[in-house]
């Protein structure tokens, strides 16, 4: 608009100048050529002014268009502002709610738990439960030519044997744990049996950084030497059958016992001495198959059984029939001289004992054992020896001992797959029972006049076994074993045993 006004004012000034200049020119008598030039100049200026005006008009239109656009954007921004303010309001509401919730939770947390509730939370707050187990199916072919019973109480020439057990671990917390091992097993004596061994509760304690203690109550595997605790399960042991020293009638101690046990592990790595573990326990006293409890007139109380007669060489049994009389006491200590992570492998040596009044009449059973186990890469060897002495009434004795040695060598480094899963093993096992009646006029004590051997056909069994394991996985194995068993009755019995075992 300013430029338009200035153009109109320019035209008026020009007309005024023409009005003045014409009479002056006339008066001055100027030439017509000068006038024409002046008019032409004026026309050019007028044209220029018109062009400028047009340009100004266009510019004004553009500006007006821009104003329109800006106004449109403003409206959009206002809408967005409205939306944002609504969202912010909603956010503020939710923040307020959250703050209230946090305040409420903080108030709950600030309330200190009572001693009772915190104790309960610590003791009963982290339950864990899982089920593991194992199973094995074995087939025995026995080439014996007499129908006497062998160490499996097996009068047949061939038989299938099935064993399975579940291992139920119930972890109440980091200290308290329960283990249930219900199992079923059968043998060729046409009987199957359900059992729960081991089944116990244990309480773990860590009084110092280097010492672990575990108090175990219930029915547990006998911690005598290593076999019952460490190697007796089908998918763990290399052989199909048990070493003859640990099989039924020859065993020096029962495979399980009821009682209470304290286990201790002491880490001696600070002195570069590996570590040691030990066990002490009190269980129901040792009992033999010829120890028969007498009925009592008072419930739960057994009178002292009559002294003798005893059966020489009677097998040791787990005492679940003669409770609350004399107890059995035992212990074991083991050392790891090479430590637990040595490049020279793992060596363990241990000594055990189990003793107790076996008949309730002051006659003791004393037993002891030595065990060694060495594992280096693909090679393993272990050996155990045990000795038991049953004091019996009169000038007689009943002593027994047993041993086995097993070596295994895995083909992992020698053969290509799939044969590298083969492991060869060899085992030698034996047991002796020495019992006799002696002439009282000759002996200087009840056990001095006893001689080796005896009348029983099972007094000196020996077993030579060899075979292989094929480890399909670390917990699934197929085994094939050939053995030669000799007994005191001068019979040599070849056997072929095969088994599939799995741990799950």
């Amino acid at each position: 608009m300013g430029r338009e006004r200035s153009a109109i004012a320019g035209l008026l000034v020009t007309a005024f100048l023409l009005g003045i200049s014409a009479p002056c020119a006339f008066a001055a008598g100027s030439s017509s050529a000068d006038e024409a030039a002046a008019l032409s100049q004026i026309k050019r200026e007028i044209n220029q002014l018109q062009v400028d005006r047009q340009s100004d008009l266009k510019h004004i239109q553009q500006l007006e268009h821009q104003v329109d656009e800006i106004q449109g954007r403003n409206q959009e921004l206002e809408k967005i502002n409205d939306q944002l303010s609504k969202q912010q309001a909603a956010q503020r509401d939710s923040q307020l709610k959250s703050a209230k919730q946090i305040q409420s939770i903080q108030a709950q947390v600030a309330k200190a738990p009572s001693v009772v509730s915190s104790t309960f939370e610590n003791w009963f707050g982290s339950h864990r439960f899982t089920v593991l187990g194992d199973a094995d199916m074995s087939y025995f072919w026995n080439g014996r030519h007499t129908n006497t019973t062998d160490d499996y109480n097996n009068p047949n020439n061939n038989s299938f044997i099935f064993d399975t057990e579940a291992i139920i671990l119930y972890n109440v917390n980091d200290k308290l744990n329960f283990v249930f091992t219900p199992g079923y097993s059968e043998d060729a004596s046409n009987s199957g049996s359900f059992d729960c061994a081991p089944c116990y509760g244990d309480f773990l304690m860590t009084p110092t950084r280097n010492l672990n203690l575990d108090l175990e109550l219930g029915r547990f595997d006998m911690p005598f030497n290593d076999y019952f605790e460490d190697y007796a399960v089908g998918w763990i042991k290399q052989t199909v059958d048990d070493p003859i020293a640990y099989a039924g009638v020859n065993s020096i101690v029962p495979d399980t016992a009821d009682g209470v046990m304290l286990r201790a592990t002491y880490d001696m790595s600070q002195w570069h001495a590996g570590f040691m573990d030990s066990v002490a326990y009190v269980v129901n006293g040792p009992r033999f198959a010829d120890t028969s409890p007498q009925p009592s007139s008072l419930p739960g109380i057994l009178p002292k059984p009559p002294v003798g007669p005893f059966v020489p060489g009677a097998p040791l049994i787990e005492n679940q029939v003669d409770l609350n009389r004399a107890k059995g006491y035992g212990g074991r200590v083991r050392f790891y001289p090479l430590g637990d992570a040595s490049e020279y492998g793992l060596l363990r040596i241990g000594a055990s004992t189990f003793d107790g009044n076996w008949d309730g009449n002051g006659h003791y059973y004393l037993s002891w054992g030595l065990a060694a186990n060495y594992v280096y890469d693909v090679f393993r060897i272990r050996a155990e020896y045990m000795n038991g002495d049953r004091q019996v009434p009169g000038p007689t004795s009943d002593r027994r001992d047993g041993w086995y040695m097993l070596a295994g060598y895995s083909m992992a480094h020698l053969l290509p797959a799939p044969f590298n899963r083969l492991e060869l093993f060899g085992m030698y096992s034996g047991a002796d029972h020495r019992y006799c009646n002696v002439n009282p006029s000759v002996y200087g004590g009840p056990y001095q006049a006893c001689v080796a051997g005896g009348a029983s056909p099972i007094t000196q069994p020996r077993e030579y076994a060899t075979g292989f394991d094929y480890w399909i996985t670390p917990s699934l194995v197929y085994k094939l074993e050939g053995t030669i068993q000799s007994s005191g009755d001068n019979h040599v019995d070849p056997q072929v045993l095969t088994s599939v075992a799995v741990g799950f």
């Binding site: 304690m205 950084r209 108090l215 637990d340």
Partner: protein
């Protein structure tokens, strides 16, 4: 003689009671009972130790089973069980547990 036997039984009862109280005291002793969470560097060290102990300590009795065979929570129970059975030191148990669980949760 009977008086002597009664005195002996009395002494045995008190000895058992004292032993029980001693065990309870040991159980409630706080040292080591509250396991301190390991730092990442300590976990790495424990993993390396577990990798060394696992094939030897486990294989001294049975074939060493791989970490993938059980879940981390199951391993926690199993190693608690094996701590009792095998009587390994606590630091070995912790190291082997970390090593076996790392099959599911690789160390940082």
């Amino acid at each position: 003689m009977k008086r002597g036997e009664a005195a002996m039984h009395h002494a045995i009862r008190w000895t058992i009671l004292a032993l029980l109280m001693f065990v309870i005291l040991l159980a409630s002793w706080p040292v080591g009972a509250q396991a301190r969470p390991l730092s990442p560097a300590e976990r790495r060290q424990a993993f390396i130790r577990g990798a060394r102990v696992w094939p030897v300590a486990c294989a001294s009795c049975h074939k060493a089973r791989p970490g993938s065979e059980f879940s981390p929570d199951q391993w926690k129970l199993i190693m608690r069980h094996m701590q009792i059975r095998a009587q390994l030191p606590a630091r070995d148990i912790q190291a082997v547990l970390i090593y076996l669980q790392s099959a599911h949760q690789p160390p940082q």
